[in-house]
């Protein structure tokens, strides 16, 4: 049955709906909503189908790990865009730039003098005990002085609409290809609405990334050869690796294509060896170099870390960054901002209990039925206890785990994530679904730059809080509106 798009749409109680306030649609989005509302449900169903078909035909897919035949799926996509007001994004942008400057300073310090530990701002065992801390890299200075070339910071909005950082991804954050591809789909399927909305472009990301990579080359920019290193086509993010290589005009290599001779990295080509200066690596650092990390591994490029330590090749991101996005170090980022920059943090965080601290742990164990517990070294929604929904047996299991290795766990109160109108194909209607936002920040020697957009992930399952694609999440195109002229 055909119906106007927003008829029957009602926000959930106790959550911040990004489009509909208690007293009606938010005025900043009036122009876009007006255009969207001219569609009826039948039209949207048809457009949504067009969008999905386009994604499949373009091969915008991810591989599914659990399936050894290498099945590919499209990342579920909702055509109804996620809107971000200009003022909101300006705030986020300033906050992210500040955060990345502080995190970069923290990494330089941890792999240098360790002043922050000496000053007692962060307990030393929190940092030195982190799985991502690589003691062998202490004293190694990365070419160009940059460590977090590419960051993806996950943000959420609480019931008041306040933006909060949920976690930092400073190793190999993924998803940016969907940001660019989702926009391509919006342009193709709902061009007039996009035009009316006056949205910041996102398609220059690959160009900016290529500039960022060249800027840290140990050799002159004219001679620089940069490559993208992928684990290969079976990797779940292979589409993105190939997308970035293609759109940057760089070669996509696998570890066996590279070798090291005299602390210099070379690529095997049809014309013999060719020097490589910058590697945008999308492989886990423990598989970078068997000589340095895993003697038992046949994966990786033998001698790569020697070449890196000698300053002959830049690695983006730098190895060792895991110490800064460790979930147990996260609660201390506001302290880092104050310590290194002498500024007050612009972006809020989610209050976090660190189980390694006695008081925190006691509180966590007494309130397991109210908290979300996360293992500090896991990602993708794994290694989590959703206290309020968990069974008694699951809670007992986590209690035992926390008591055995408290350093591995943190806990937070569940934040009511904000919702956006999302197309539900089965019901043929819009319904509120919870979202997060991952903006991308590129850092070159001249400082950080934030892409005006980001990956909006949406929990498609009714009532779900988990936005990860591996667990029923999908994505939306994120429209950061241009400032001025918001009628």
């Amino acid at each position: 049955m055909t119906a106007p798009l927003f008829s029957g749409y009602a926000p959930l109680s106790g959550t911040f709906d990004e489009i509909l306030a208690v007293d009606g649609p938010r005025p900043t989005f009036a122009r876009v909503l007006d255009a969207l509302d001219r569609l009826n449900t039948d039209e949207l169903a048809r457009l949504q189908q067009l969008a999905e078909q386009a994604l499949l035909q373009q091969g915008v897919t991810f591989s599914v790990y659990s399936d050894n035949r290498g099945t590919e799926k499209i990342f579920p996509f909702c055509l109804v865009p996620r809107l971000v007001a200009a003022a909101d994004f300006a705030h986020v942008e300033r906050g992210l730039e500040q955060r990345l400057r502080a995190l970069g300073a923290f990494l330089d310090d941890v792999y240098g003098d360790q002043r922050i530990l000496a000053a007692g701002v962060i307990p030393a065992e929190m940092v030195l005990g982190a799985v991502g801390y690589q003691p062998t890299l202490r004293g190694v200075k990365p070419p160009g002085g940059v460590r977090i070339h590419i960051a993806g910071v996950d943000l959420i909005r609480d019931p008041e609409g306040t933006w909060r950082v949920l976690e930092d991804n400073l190793r190999t954050p993924s998803g940016v290809s969907y940001v660019v591809e989702n926009r391509t789909i919006s342009k193709r399927v709902i061009p007039r609405i996009l035009d009316r909305a006056r949205v910041h472009r996102v398609d220059h990301y690959p160009t900016k990334l290529a500039e960022t990579l060249r800027a840290v080359s140990p050799r002159s920019i004219d001679d620089t050869s940069a490559v993208v290193l992928t684990p290969g086509p079976y990797n779940s993010a292979y589409f993105e690796h190939s997308f970035l290589a293609r759109t940057m005009g760089l070669e996509l290599v696998t570890a066996p294509d590279l070798f090291v001779d005299g602390d210099v990295v070379y690529c095997k080509t049809t014309r013999g060896p060719r020097r490589v200066d910058v590697i945008y690596r999308r492989t886990d650092e423990t598989f970078l170099d068997p000589e340095a990390f895993r003697p038992d591994s046949v994966l990786g490029v033998r001698g790569l870390m020697r070449a890196y330590a000698a300053g002959n090749v830049a690695l983006a991101n730098a190895p060792g960054n895991g110490v800064a996005d460790d979930k147990a170090v996260y609660p201390f980022v506001p302290d880092m901002i104050r310590f290194y920059l002498g500024e007050q943090p612009i972006l809020a965080q989610v209050p976090t209990f660190v189980c390694a601290r006695d008081d925190d742990r006691r509180y966590v164990l007494e309130h397991l039925d109210q908290l979300v517990v996360k293992a500090v070294d896991e990602a993708g929604g794994y290694g989590m206890l959703m206290g309020p929904q968990a069974s008694a047996a699951e809670r007992a299991e986590f209690r035992a785990r926390i008591e055995a290795t408290p350093r591995r766990y943190i806990a937070q109160h569940r934040v009511e994530l904000s919702t956006c109108p999302t197309w539900i194909g089965d019901g043929k209607q819009l319904a509120p679904r919870r979202v997060d936002l991952r903006p991308y920040v590129l850092t070159s020697p001249s400082g950080p730059w934030v892409l005006p957009g980001g990956l909006t992930r949406v929990a498609l399952v009714d009532g779900s809080y988990v936005v990860n694609s591996s667990q029923g999440g999908g994505s939306k195109d994120t429209w950061v509106l241009k400032s001025g002229g918001a009628i």
Partner: protein, 319 residues
């Protein structure tokens, strides 16, 4: 260019060409079987042999001798059976896998058209098409592969990656033409009850499977016979599916990748060997009577195989 990327490009070209060639061969054999006064097995067995699947098909038939007379069964085996390495759906899958491994090299449009072919080939729609509109199935495969090859030439940089893809296309085509001609030439010239009309229809069918019927008729207005057809398919330098044309085109691609004067670069052995094969075919001007066709084609098939091996070692990073 990275050797592994060159390798994927080369095999991308080979599998796209193999897909098309298999579709052509099945479609024309089907048409031949419908109007010839031939035993069905005489039509279908050569097709299975050309695909290199004689052993597999025998196992598949499980001692059922009638299977060799059963065109539908051979067609299903070589077109849509995902368990058969030489089948059309498997070749499409392999082409697409190689393209996906070097997405950054293949142009977006070429990739999309190949990906669409792949998605279609694995769908129920393709099976229905195969069951109900066989001609339409083959036609779609042929057109889609032509589209992929055309898009590669018209939307990619004409440099090394495309040279490797095209080298793959040409060497695969050499080998396909040589094997199709050899097997069918042997089958038709050894027919016990030879009949001129039947024989002519066989040669026309062979020419059709290589899209060579009309070009052949433009060159040879008189009789269609074994001698003339073999001569055309081996030595006609202006026909893009003739062996002479394909070997020469392959040589030119490789010479662009690794120029003859660039003695310091790898690839010299392969280039010399390809040149020798090119020269040998051009130098043969005698009438290809009797066993000469078979001997020459055997040499071409063996040499092509050896050239691919050598290419793998010198340029594609094989051990």
């Amino acid at each position: 260019m990275i050797s592994r990327v060159a390798d994927h490009g080369f095999w991308l070209g080979r599998y796209v060409e193999r897909t098309e060639s298999t579709a052509r061969l099945l479609a024309t054999t089907r048409s031949l079987a419908l109007d010839a006064e031939l035993e069905p097995a005489a039509c279908w067995r050569p097709v299975v042999v050309v695909a290199g699947e004689e052993q597999n098909y025998a196992t598949h038939a499980g001692g059922d001798l009638a299977a060799w007379d059963d065109g539908d069964r051979v067609e299903a085996f070589l077109a849509i059976d995902a368990e058969v390495p030489a089948s059309i759906v498997r070749s499409i899958g392999a082409a697409r896998w190689n393209a996906r491994s070097i997405r950054e090299v293949v142009s977006l449009e070429a990739w999309e058209s190949l990906n669409e072919l792949y998605l279609w080939a694995g769908s129920d729609a393709a099976r229905t098409e195969f069951a109900e509109r066989r001609y339409g199935f083959y036609r779609r495969v042929r057109e889609a592969t032509q589209l992929v090859l055309g898009l590669m030439r018209s939307t990619m940089l004409h440099d090394e990656p495309l040279d490797f893809i095209w080298l793959g296309v040409m060497l695969e085509r050499v080998s396909q033409t040589a094997r199709i001609l050899d097997v069918q030439h042997h089958a038709y010239t050894s027919l016990t009850n030879r009949h001129e009309v039947v024989e002519t229809s066989l040669w026309i069918s062979l020419l059709r499977s290589l899209s060579g019927f009309e070009p052949f008729m433009k060159q040879h207005r008189n009789k269609v016979d074994a001698l003339a057809v073999a001569d055309f398919l081996i030595r006609e330098e202006r026909f893009p599916r003739a062996i002479a044309y394909c070997v020469h085109a392959a040589y030119q691609r490789l010479a662009a990748i690794r120029p003859p004067e660039a003695v310091d670069l790898p690839g010299g052995v392969t280039l010399a060997r390809l040149r020798a094969l090119d020269d040998l075919i051009t130098a043969r001007t005698d009438e290809l009577r009797g066993n000469a066709v078979h001997e020459l084609l055997t040499l071409v098939v063996d040499e092509t195989h050896a050239i691919c091996e050598s290419l793998g070692k010198e340029l594609l990073g094989h051990a």
